[in-house]
Symmetry: C2
Amino acid sequence: MALWIQILPGSSEPIYVQVAEQISKAIARGELASGDKLPAVRKLAAELVINPNTVARAYSRLEQAGLVTTKTGSGTYVSDPKLRRHDAADINILTDRMDTLITRGLNLGLEEQDIIAMFKGRLAKFVNKKAERRKND
Amino acid sequence: MALWIQILPGSSEPIYVQVAEQISKAIARGELASGDKLPAVRKLAAELVINPNTVARAYSRLEQAGLVTTKTGSGTYVSDPKLRRHDAADINILTDRMDTLITRGLNLGLEEQDIIAMFKGRLAKFVNKKAERRKND
DNA sequence: ACAATTGTATTAAGACTTTTAATACATTAT
DNA sequence: ATAATGTATTAAAAGTCTTAATACAATTGT
């Protein structure tokens, strides 16, 4: 299992956000499962040729989101999905982001059905990857 | 028709993004239709108690997205939806954002059906508002 | 016990972005 | 003409992002 994380130099997204986001996606796709260990802060920093502080910030962000738990001296591990909680605030943020996304789609001239079809298509890829992974375990 | 735009002081989003985003949503919902005139740069700046440059930057962003056209000396107007084009790059950005959104939802512990239902619900509100507006015209 | 590895914290500096401010200019409307 | 429009420029203040160089605390492996 090599390293999938790739930082885009031209992106307006801060590096620590890019790293956290890509790890989040790996978790959502099931490529990283509960208990899996993330690369050590210094090791990942060396591979990506960025500062260890930047990786630490990404990990801190993941921990705040409840996706990983860290044990100083041991490492950073993907947390148990069953323990992940969401409250009303989380849902509000999610629906706000949905509205932003829908705004973009409609203003690009896309039709309601097209947008839904696209969304379902993307979502299916996540779930399929998870199913494949369960099969191979 | 008073002013709907509200800037959140605590937000990490730049003010010019907040302004552009809210106008985009108004257009997507049909609250602003083709030909409608946006508030003058200086006027909106005065109402929001921000710098005119910041509003100008928001308008510039909307023009770059093809949502408005500006005529110096006259004003800024919502452009014709039929003229709005999208290319492959636009779709790529949209699907990337969808993936980010889906990642959030799944990692909050939401089920596939819940996420789709939420998304459809939000989208329906946009389309319904447009339908209502057509009725009242 | 010891050494290596882990995450964390601090301080500093440079680069970049955001916002305000103060003008000035060009075009359009009245 | 006069007023109102969008645009452009220059400057400064405040904040964010990233790197750098350390140092500390806790765990792991021997």
